[in-house]
């Protein structure tokens, strides 16, 4: 059933929802010169029932963690506890204006403060800012702080090192922070090798950005040595927290030698991803970077919580107000509910699920890095190429079986990569069902490859032409 665009349903004479009436005496027409006023507002006009049906029907064309397995590597698509939604959906949070005086918004400040305390314990960092609205925003914020710190020390280092397996946001953030990026090749283990790293380290290097476990799902086991090398060179070590779900309770970035970290609350701390956001990317730093945090920070003086704007070396603001507060409320609720034991268990079960699935799937693909993984692992579908099938096709065929495919073609260092992150909330049954579906698809490739190459078949639309979209550039209904 095709769903039209709102515009296609519109009629200017449709009735409107029940709104208050303006005061005649103070109308814009009377009080503003005509040249400031618009003549027409070309928005559509629909009745309430049409809008409700439109979006209700649109929602039926989608997928989500609440519908099924979502093993999208590096995204930590775990189940989002419903209690968090209820907790955040409280008028004392949702209807609180950010300019409310501190005395009258102590609850909100308390949540931010306590979430900072909890994240400090979890990561081993000293202090957090919650302004960054997403992971990439956190990276940028931290790099700006590092830049300011180095500048204060009189150093003008302009290089950011990232592994060749890094998330794309790492180099992109480095650019925005005014750095140049250099990639370090991973070794045959899929890890940063201190010997290789040594060649890249020099006085121009400002920071090494690492994800640990890295995007191959592997723990950088030389991390202590790496940290030592980086610090000895006068550079700093940055932790991309996208994969924190793989180590909670077993390793803390602060203890590994990281100087700054960002955390994706919408990954590890289970706030829903909303079809692309909002998330939150709080940044934690070691003490020596505290003076560079964005203003304001939330502080507690023993009696009340307050906003501290008095940070002389601050990098300034990276956004308006204090961050994605309602996301913080959900993350705080989640952390409170699980406690340290629960969070450790989270990691254990995430790692168990990943290794189990890896073990079950490895015979059907190439497994470039066979060691024990953490929360995710990467397979290569290169052997399927000779059958004319790409992992792209497998991904599309998985849609027909009602499952969201893994991340594909990332990390870039693995040919025909399939990056699989099952998360801790999935049942053994679901994992096995996934394996069975993969096996079925592989059988289809042998017997009837066209069905895979033209997949999906059972979705609301068939395979979409992305190139055509880029060519047409129809990005608005006019």
């Amino acid at each position: 059933k095709k769903i039209p665009l709102i515009k296609e349903l519109s009629n200017d004479d449709r009735p409107n929802i029940h709104l208050p009436e303006p005061l005649e005496e103070f109308s814009p027409e009377k009080l503003l010169p005509k040249e400031l006023l618009r003549e027409d507002l070309p928005l559509p006009q629909l009745s309430e029932i049409e809008v409700v049906r439109h979006f209700t029907n649109l929602s039926s064309l989608g997928y989500g963690v609440d519908l099924g397995f979502y093993p999208l590597g590096s995204c930590t698509m775990k189940y989002n506890p419903k209690i968090n939604e209820e907790i955040a959906n409280n008028e004392y949070f949702t209807d609180l204006h950010p300019h409310t005086p501190e005395d009258l918004s102590q609850g909100a400040l308390e949540i931010i403060y306590k979430l900072g305390e909890a994240l400090s314990k979890i990561t081993g960092m000293d202090k957090f800012t919650f302004q960054p609205s997403a992971g990439a925003h956190g990276e940028l914020t931290a790099l700006l702080m590092i830049k300011a710190y180095l500048k204060d020390k009189g150093e003008d280092r302009n290089i950011v090192l990232v592994p060749d397996s890094a998330h794309g946001t790492n180099p992109a953030s480095a650019s925005m922070a005014g750095f140049e990026t250099i990639e370090i090749p991973s070794d045959e283990r899929g890890l940063i090798n201190p010997n290789i790293l040594a060649k890249y380290l020099n006085k121009n290097v400002a920071v090494l950005m690492l994800t640990n476990p890295n995007t191959l799902g592997l723990f950088e086991r030389d991390i202590l040595k790496i940290a030592k090398m980086v610090h000895e060179e006068g550079a700093l070590l940055y932790y991309d927290g996208a994969n924190l779900n793989g180590i909670m309770g077993y390793a803390r970035p602060g203890d590994m030698g990281f100087d700054a970290v960002h955390i994706n609350l919408h990954k590890t701390f289970s706030t829903p991803h909303g079809g692309g956001g909002p998330g939150a990317g709080p940044v934690g730093v070691k003490d020596f970077l505290k003076d560079y945090l964005p203003i304001p920070t939330v502080e507690f003086n023993g009696e009340k919580y307050y906003l501290n704007y008095d940070i002389p070396k601050t990098i300034g603001r990276v956004r308006t107000f204090y961050g994605n507060f309602l996301v913080m409320v959900k993350a705080y609720a989640y952390i409170r509910l699980l406690g340290d034991e629960g969070l450790k268990r989270t990691t254990e079960m995430a790692v168990l699920n990943a290794n189990y699935l890896k073990e079950k799937l490895k015979e059907y693909f190439n497994l470039p890095y066979p060691s024990i993984c953490k929360h995710e692992f990467v397979l290569s579908g290169k052997r399927l190429k000779e059958k004319g099938v790409k992992v792209f096709d497998i991904a599309k065929r998985l849609l027909d079986y009602g499952i969201h495919p893994p991340t594909i073609y990332f990390p870039l260092i693995v040919e025909e990569a399939l990056m699989i992150e099952p998360t801790e909330t999935e049942t053994k049954y679901t994992l096995e069902e996934f394996v069975d579906i993969i096996k079925t698809i592989l059988k289809e490739i042998d017997e009837n490859p066209e069905i895979v190459k033209n997949a999906p078949h059972n979705t609301p639309v068939k395979r979409l032409n992305e190139a055509y979209a880029a060519k047409m550039l129809k990005v608005n209904w006019r």
Binding site: P20, G62, Q106, L464
Partner: protein, 453 residues
């Protein structure tokens, strides 16, 4: 615990399959020293039951007593009415529990909704293209400034001090590390951007000029057309920060030939939420589409020729272009954008116009009462405004506001929060959620407070 479904037996079976004896063993490659430190220091208070947790956080929430006050706070975040369905949509499982739509064939709900969001923003602003959202206005303006630098190849941005001071602060943070010059224009006596200053400041080296309308002091800029001429004469881009609801009545940016529209989308159905999540609007001319930061949804066809929607121009983005991307943005505010789309669709052309008129007329009603009944001084008495204006207080504004707080009124934002010299000024906002009774109560309370002094 609730979120780990495995039974002990299943865990044993899985460990067997993996070929390890214990869960600990799965972490054996982590250096002992690190594990030991985690063991010692990874401590959080014990987890309560769901019942206790709900109660615990409810108790904390109640400390936000300002929520129950009659509020005239604005300054970039506005208390607008949110129709119930807007709230319900954000709880549709396929919307809020999905990731970025990397697999468009099972994400048409999110993708079409965002395509419609982009289109509605274009309708509202008159622009040709909008992206699928930025975080919020402050960082959005910084992205727009960077975009102007990329497009013009010049490194000088001029900003009016009429821009929200928090946005200016963000702008400074973003531009400084790129060695982009930032010049700030003063306001004239009417609270508008001083056009003669712009004339003096702008040059062929200018990449972009950023204005806000209505500006932070609530003032409607009346010389946008003249400024546009100046800007374009210097081959700079005209960047305008807007308050979406005001466009229900005010001339759209396209009619001033604005190049990049940015703005805070919170007023379009997003809750105040103590400052976030909000919604960064960015709309521009089609010629600049390849320099847009972040996601864009485009129409396409499927194998059978049917209409469908996908993320397009992904080669601009960080996951493809990495260090050379137009921005590092990845996670954006998709759900807020969907809320805004539902909001705009529900209210429609009549509704958004009416909301704008109600805001306008009640704000002017308040100003009228303050003027005629209390003889209040206004900082920019001769300017036009939409729903926000600045008054002069007889004493330090924070002290003054405290007295109103005793009457359960949040009377405005003390401008001393941002401008030391404006210690006797407050910025007052009125929306459709301020009933006439509330406004009258405010006037009455102000009268009492003034009398007391």
């Amino acid at each position: 615990m609730a979120y780990f479904p495995h039974t002990p037996q299943e865990i044993r079976e899985m460990l067997n399959t993996i070929g390890v004896d214990s869960i600990e063993e799965l972490f054996s490659e982590i250096p002992e020293e690190i594990r030991q430190k985690a063991k010692e220091n990874f401590k959080l208070s014990a987890s309560p039951s769901e019942i206790d947790l709900l109660e615990e956080i409810k108790q904390i929430s109640k400390k936000n007593i300002g929520k129950d006050y009659i509020s005239f706070l604005g300054g970039g975040a506005y208390r607008h009415y949110i129709p119930s369905f807007v709230k319900l949509v954000s709880l549709f499982p396929t919307f809020y529990t999905s990731y970025t739509p990397y697999q468009p064939e099972i994400s048409q709900g999110v993708l079409q909704s965002i395509f419609e969001y982009q289109s509605l923003i274009c309708d509202l602003t008159g622009m040709e293209v909008a992206n699928a959202s930025l975080y919020e206005a402050g960082s959005g303006i910084a992205e727009a400034a960077l975009m102007s630098v990329r497009i013009t190849g010049k490194k000088e941005v001029i900003v009016s001090s009429g821009l929200n001071p928090e946005y200016i602060s963000v702008l400074k943070t973003y531009l400084q590390v790129q060695n982009i010059d930032l010049k700030i224009l003063p306001l004239d006596e009417n609270g508008e951007t001083d056009i003669t200053a712009l004339e003096r400041t702008i040059s062929p080296s200018t990449s972009g000029v950023i204005l806000q309308n209505p500006n932070f002091f609530g003032v409607i800029e009346t010389k946008l057309k003249e400024m546009e001429t100046l800007i374009h004469k210097n081959n700079a881009l005209f960047i305008l920060s807007i308050y979406p609801i005001s466009l229900g009545i005010l001339k759209p940016p396209s009619e001033y030939n604005v190049d990049i529209v940015v703005g805070e989308g919170q007023s379009l159905g997003i809750p105040l939420g103590f400052g976030g999540p909000y919604l960064g609007i960015l709309a521009t001319k089609k010629e600049f589409i390849r320099q847009i930061p972040g996601r864009i949804v485009g129409e396409t066809i499927d194998l059978e020729g049917e209409r469908g929607f996908v993320n397009t121009l992904q080669t601009r983005e960080q996951h493809i272009r990495r260090a050379k991307a137009t921005s590092n943005i990845c996670t954006n505010e998709a759900l807020s954008a969907i809320s805004a789309a539902v909001y705009m669709a529900l209210l429609g052309k009549k509704g958004i116009k009416k909301i704008a008129e109600v805001c306008f007329s009640r704000a002017h009603y308040l100003k009228d009462r303050l003027q005629k009944k209390l003889g209040i001084d206004f900082i920019y008495p001769n300017s036009y405004f939409f729903n926000e204006f600045v008054i002069k207080t007889p004493e330090n504004s924070k002290v003054f506001l405290k007295k109103l707080e005793e009457r359960k009124i949040l009377g405005g934002i003390p401008l001393s929060k941002f401008y030391k010299e404006r210690e006797k000024e407050i910025l007052i906002a009125v929306t459709e959620r301020n009933s006439i009774e509330e406004i009258d109560y405010y006037v009455k309370s102000l009268k009492e407070v003034l009398k007391k002094d």
